[in-house]
Symmetry: C2
Subunit: 704 residues, 2 copies
Amino acid sequence: MNSVTIILSMAVLAILTAVVYALKVTRIKVGAEGGKAEETKKLLEISTAISEGAMAFLIREYKTISLFIGFMAVLIFLLLDNPESENFHDGIFTAIAFISGAFISCLSGFIGMKIATAGNVRTAEAAKNSMQNAFRVAFDSGAVMGFGLVGLAVLGMITLFLIYTGTFPEVNKLFLMESLAGFGLGGSAVALFGRVGGGIYTKAADVGADLVGKVEKGIPEDDPRNPATIADNVGDNVGDVAGMGADLFGSCAEATSAALVIGATASALSGNTDALLYPLLISAFGIPASLLTSLIARVKEGGNVEKVLKIQLWVSTVIVAVAMYFVTDVFMTDSFEIAGKIITKWNVYISLLVGLFAGMFIGLVTEYYTSHSYKPVREVADASNTGAATNIIYGLALGYQSSVIPVVLLVITIVTANLLGGMYGIAIAALGMISTIAIGLTIDAYGPVSDNAGGIAEMAELGKEVRNRTDTLDAAGNTTAAIGKGFAIGSAALTSLALFAAFITRTKTTGLDILNAEVFGGLLFGAMLPFIFTALTMKSVGKAAKDMVEEVRRQFKEIPGIMERKAKPDYKRCVDISTTAALREMILPGLLVLLTPIIVGYLFGIKSLAGVLAGALVSGVVLAISSANSGGGWDNAKKYIEKIAGGKGSDQHKAAVVGDTVGDPLKDTSGPSINILIKLMAITSLVFAEFFVQHGGLILRLFH
Amino acid sequence: MNSVTIILSMAVLAILTAVVYALKVTRIKVGAEGGKAEETKKLLEISTAISEGAMAFLIREYKTISLFIGFMAVLIFLLLDNPESENFHDGIFTAIAFISGAFISCLSGFIGMKIATAGNVRTAEAAKNSMQNAFRVAFDSGAVMGFGLVGLAVLGMITLFLIYTGTFPEVNKLFLMESLAGFGLGGSAVALFGRVGGGIYTKAADVGADLVGKVEKGIPEDDPRNPATIADNVGDNVGDVAGMGADLFGSCAEATSAALVIGATASALSGNTDALLYPLLISAFGIPASLLTSLIARVKEGGNVEKVLKIQLWVSTVIVAVAMYFVTDVFMTDSFEIAGKIITKWNVYISLLVGLFAGMFIGLVTEYYTSHSYKPVREVADASNTGAATNIIYGLALGYQSSVIPVVLLVITIVTANLLGGMYGIAIAALGMISTIAIGLTIDAYGPVSDNAGGIAEMAELGKEVRNRTDTLDAAGNTTAAIGKGFAIGSAALTSLALFAAFITRTKTTGLDILNAEVFGGLLFGAMLPFIFTALTMKSVGKAAKDMVEEVRRQFKEIPGIMERKAKPDYKRCVDISTTAALREMILPGLLVLLTPIIVGYLFGIKSLAGVLAGALVSGVVLAISSANSGGGWDNAKKYIEKIAGGKGSDQHKAAVVGDTVGDPLKDTSGPSINILIKLMAITSLVFAEFFVQHGGLILRLFH
């Protein structure tokens, strides 16, 4: 079998797996066996509201995305089409790849949201019977997203590859791969909406619901009387299912694009389709590895859910490591040359392993810093005894400190992969890190499904045993969510570096000396970007949350009888407010990300742009890790106090709530959005590389 | 006249100015004219306690510094002495320059502290009579520090220059200038203690005094019943006089060293002493410019103090700009060549101007973001209405946003200066930025003197009119302190870059391509350093403050009658606690700064080290600006609420107090310490350059 057949089969396998899991979940009937009619009615009512809210958001978001994608596609076409220089019309084919990437990312997000909002109520339903069942429903729902997304991504890329190489057999593979990079840009552009817009949505709803509901009205979380409660539950899906999915879809597509472009510069690879497609083989073989692993996922009553999920990650990692040994041996050329460096297939394989295991260790470190089983979070909880200020100081310090080991791991990965495989090695390491993405995303999406299930159980007033089960599921999801964030930022860093390398390779830029003033100026400017981006997204959440607070207050005032459960709040309007605010507030940060590389490249040229990319990358990685872990630390310090220390209502708890509220936008909006900032700037540079070569550096040309 | 004579005369002029101002201040007798004996007794008692506390701290600190300097001097001697390669024994002469720099920095700090602790009580005394008098006493006290420090710095450098060049006329100037760089390292090493140790001291005392005094006991700030109140007032001097002085002394000595080393690589400069000494001429001509300006500093009753201080900065800036036109014309060679670039004297002059004015604008932007006359601080105050969490979120966002314009100004400075004068231009721009350092430091030291004067007036229970006068003086000091911090970080950035360039020039390193994995790995690792450094220093403050809180609580418990004013608290013990804690808690961050460049250079070589320096520089600048301005913003948001909005005791005020407490270590310890981090790592690299060339990159040599 050749690699094309294998990749196609694996993609189909993934899609079939997703379909089977989807059928398994949707087959479950809500309120099937002897449930109380009243309870079932409530369950359905609430879950319908959430799923309608989620769809309402997605439809609005996709409308905006369509306009944006259309505009970008035209821009790509205009800036890149250069019919004179090549037989191949770069512009039009890059635009097609771009639209395909965006479409498939949207489709994956849509499927993920559909199943997540079907799975949440069914998890609650299953929790009536047993822990094992409930766990499996939530897990299977996540698996639909995990496998569906990877399958569609791989299928999309291999199809475009076949079409482009089949239609233009005579064109240099490098140009074809470059056009294929448009696929990554499309995925990443959607991720901008998913992560930034979705991040603003989820936190605006969360903060809005909490501030009026919990603080002003004194009603518990997920209380059906709170008008923003549905929006809050929708937000969990928007941020952690659609947002995270789009982010990792982007990483996968972008790292693949980078590896293909760099690989195509080696004649030994561009002439050997099996070897050239090695990057896609990595993602393809992650599919059966994840599938095998997913079959063993089961939890007994009272079992340790967190452990089960972590074992999933380890087992799939080991399977991929072993499988890729044989894949490398069979499909990779024995050795090839890139930029004067001889790279053997075993160099490539070790680069992959380094990325794969670095990802796992980054995940473990993230867990250490954000779980209340360990010292750092307990220190923050202790510091809350002396008030909110010390809680904030220790939480910030926790985040800053937590970046050390992940950064060292990334440095080791970069240096080793580069030593062995040059920039190609780094792209492969990035792919290695996300090769188990199907299982990773399954676990990521499992989180909001369980969280929602808990919310629905609360709102439908199901029994205490049911709530206990959903709480246990949810708690495990929180820890794995932190691990997932570690993966996401680690892979974003390597992906950006690989894209950056592809950009430099492509533009044949030399003399990127740090001390070159253009480069250094870019470096300093770039290092500032993640900070301003964080400031913008934090304030966006603040503004969107304010809209929500006003709406919730209005409803409590103008709709009489809400508090007495005599009247129903207008959930839809809150969903609408969150949607509108999120899409409005993402414009400014979104423009910053998209326009910066284009403006810098056009006005100041490739060297300055390279500096900006590198500066944003290095400071962005540290700030993203810090933001995510400070936020996670504050969240779990609060939970630790609730469960083990001072308890709810204590002064210690009040101080911890401040940290938790500060951490919310940091960990769920600003931090993860930095992944998109660094990746999107890098792939935009790569896609527009030819344009910068032709027209870049306007101002510098005026001076020289 | 040749440049040597001029530089010597100006240095002497500065020292004489300092002496005259010192006599002017100390001549004032406390309680001279018809004061009440009781009041006078109290004034003297309190001011003696502060001045004894300050001296106690300095003596302990200098003891520790001596040990450390001795150890470092031996290390320098051992690592750098290479009698075989040159006639000139680099090690011993670098060590001598190092010890001289450290000694002179300590001496300047000592003089500054002496006069500040004499000036504070005399300012309070003068405030009994008139605003004008009080202002002038505080200003004159600051001037002793400002002129004394610059005079000694310039005198020290020119003396060493004359001795080295006179004794070794046959040795290549480059080696001599390199040894001279030891002077900068010495100054910077003292600044590590001043900024980090001093920063921990001042905030531990401040937080300790506030937490027990204000919060637990409900007594006002500067209440003599609070055992930590003297330590708190000592801390203002330690941090803002000695710390800031050592920091700027370091910048001045380091930027001069960098310019001399880079300049010495040009034969047209190394053969022409007048032109070679141009960097010292800049600092020298800043002295008469500052002196002229200082003569016009006067404030009428009810006048705008802030405006008077800002005019000081502008006038001295303009005078330096004009004076340097003629100095450049007379002393600079018409054109010279460095690294293949032809540089004319007007290129050098414009580089200087760019640095000079960029500094002013960075100061103005800092003021915009930290004064409550403008929108950003008011937004933070508004956000405090919805609680501490939104106060924190908006304050963090303010800091992040405030970095944009300073970074852009620095980028413009770097690119322009480099375009005109290569790396020499950047060193000159750094010197330009701090050329008005005499007046800048005067204003910086004016702040804690006024602040102390207010504290003394409060403790001695002087009349309300007196307090109003000292409050007005103090308020203006807060704004100019923010401007001073802007200067300090801006000059630290340019200085570090110049040192970095000197290091690269010296080691003849090429191929510092960003995409080189060693460089990029260093870059990423370096970008993480300011974050871990901030985490360490923030936690150091927390731990030191905890010691102080326990001591203050103990005294209230064990010494009966403190609250009833029947017994006096043991102030000395609190001073002692703060001193011990500060010196203990600075060890870890101090080692991080000092050992990182040596270990990285030794194990991974010059390219990795260059990456680390650049990474730390770019992320450090942004984090330092953000930390300082977030802190300043929170502080003034609180003051705005006290004066104009909700008022003391309101919920809005309580929320703002949280931000203020978080901001304290950020703006007075962690943020300013980053200046030292980036400068000290760069000058350490430069001084040990020869060692790295000979022995660096151990691990890389094992692999290759």
